[in-house]
Amino acid sequence: MSVLKFTPKQFDDFVSAMLKTGRPVMAPQAKNGRFAFGPLASPADLRLDYDVTILPPKKYVLPQVETLLEFEVCGPCRSVQEGQPMILLGVHPYDLTAILQMDELFRQGQYDKHYMDRRCQITIIALDVVTPSANVFASSMGTATVRSGYDILLTVLKDGSILADVATAKGQELIRLAGSVVPASEADLKARKDVWEHNNAALNKHILLCKPSLLPKILEQNYNHPVWEEKARLCYSCGSCNQVCPTCYCFDVQDRVNWDLKTGHRFRCWDGCLLENFATVAGNHNFRKDRAARYRHRLYRKGKYVPEKIGGQIACVGCGRCISACTAKIANPVEVYNRLLQDTKLG
């Protein structure tokens, strides 16, 4: 479709117009010296220059707690859809890649209508990274920039102007709210290409020493590598790495009854494979009770299990959040993968 060029003032007006529609606009804003996605109240609070948010925007496609159905004990139940139209503004390419992966995972097999209903009502305005975060390695994972999957893609150019690449009908509908903005010129598109080329190389604070596509093969050979024990020795099993990960989608399902002891609701909430009882099943049997086994599982899932399900795309998008969030400083996937690579004979 088309690429439009906004001045900062025109862009603020566009954001104001979106806010006036009454649709919630979730966008990155400052929070205690860091950044977090939250409901936007004014264009002045929007931080297009954010480096990374504490939690990824997955919290809007898969909320921490989500009611699935309401029931009567030993009686009928009624499915609950909590989704509402929403604009997700300022999603970095690596986080968009993660959402697209989740779309595929919730679509395949048992079609998850709670997820898909919510997801279909969201319009995503992606944003090329302006400020690299301390631990980002999206360049290593091939997720520093994206060419599809967004409704609109924003790129902030050096002169402060903002290009908007409108890719879908949803995006087209939204962009109508912008006043009279001009199409981007050839020079603007060249400047955007420079941003992409720069980001494709520069979002790389930790450098993976192989192509991500080699990870499944590397992992396959290292199930019993000593690194799992060495790292997991310091693991608190606090699940922080899972919580902040844009591609972790595991959830637990629980029921709660009301005081009448007759009616209640079933909800799902985020779970994490590092938590001690993640794999505890009926009868109190825990089939992954060692810290090292749980630690290994996360990195296998990112580098082998999920890629095998979704056609090869590695389920680590290089946002670096786990590296920052891990109190024990053992979560860095690049460190582990490089270590395995060193000890692997690739024939």
């Binding site: 099993s237 922080s240 024990a328």
Partner: protein
């Protein structure tokens, strides 16, 4: 079907957790709709020896209290420990770090030997009698109180978290206290509070007790990574973590 009879008792504590039950306000009507409260010193005058569920608040600090608790246990089918003093001994356990005579003298001075001021080492309720369910925290969380009671009334295992506070803290998008180079007990303490203290810019004080298998060994090395010491950590664990089994 008759409603289960519930009695609420208190031992050594500030009675703040019972107060949280009173603070249920309108929800108390829901509570008494499904149970008969037959004894509750803080909120009513009636007493009874006939009850199905005993809710016990406070830690056990005297021999005669142990005997009283054993009688309560013998009369109920389900015993619930209410609040940090009951579930882990609470702040009262700090005295177990010292010689008992020194403690008595420090508190009561020349009256330390008076018989009515006699006191023993502090015990959590389950160090005296078996406990069927725990409602953790200092004070307890009212919402969790309701969840545990309703689960028990339906014969289900109460859904008390077994994972660390970090889970709930991350969900709230708090900046980790360790990023401020502060010691926080969150990584080894049981969640369920909604990370209330870190969400108010305090560290986790550890009132809900340790998770089932805290990685205490990791705690030592992790302190190094933040330029902190194990001694710093120990200091922070005294308030709620004294003599709790998992100690450094």
């Amino acid at each position: 079907m008759s409603k289960p009879r519930v009695a609420i008792f208190d031992f050594a504590c500030c009675e703040g957790c019972q107060l949280q039950i009173v603070n249920l306000e309108e929800e108390i009507l829901d509570l008494i709709h499904v149970v008969d409260v037959v004894e509750w010193r803080e909120a009513m005058s009636e007493q009874s020896h006939d009850y199905d569920i005993a809710i016990v608040e406070g830690s056990i600090t005297r021999h005669e209290d142990e005997l009283r608790l054993e009688v309560i246990r013998s009369r109920c089918k389900i015993l619930i420990a209410l609040g940090a003093c009951a579930t882990i001994g609470g702040v009262n356990k700090m005295k177990n770090n010292f010689d008992l005579n020194d403690v008595k003298e420090c508190v009561y001075g020349k009256d330390a030997k008076m018989p009515h001021l006699n006191t023993d080492m502090t015990k959590a309720v389950d160090e005296v009698v078996p406990v069927d369910a725990y409602i953790h925290g200092c004070p307890i969380d009212r919402k969790e109180f309701g969840t545990v009671i309703r689960a028990l009334l339906l014969g289900k295992r109460p859904p008390v978290p077994d994972y660390p506070v970090c889970v709930e803290c991350k969900a709230k998008e708090n900046v980790c206290r360790y990023e401020y180079n502060e010691i926080c007990l969150g990584p080894i303490i049981r969640a369920g509070c909604g990370a209330r203290c870190p969400s108010s810019n305090f560290r986790c004080f550890g009132c809900r007790g340790y998770v089932d298998h805290p990685n205490v060994e990791a705690a030592k090395e992790v302190m190094d990574k933040y330029g902190l010491t194990v001694e710093d950590l120990k200091q922070k664990m005294i308030l709620f973590g004294s003599k709790q089994g998992h100690t450094l």
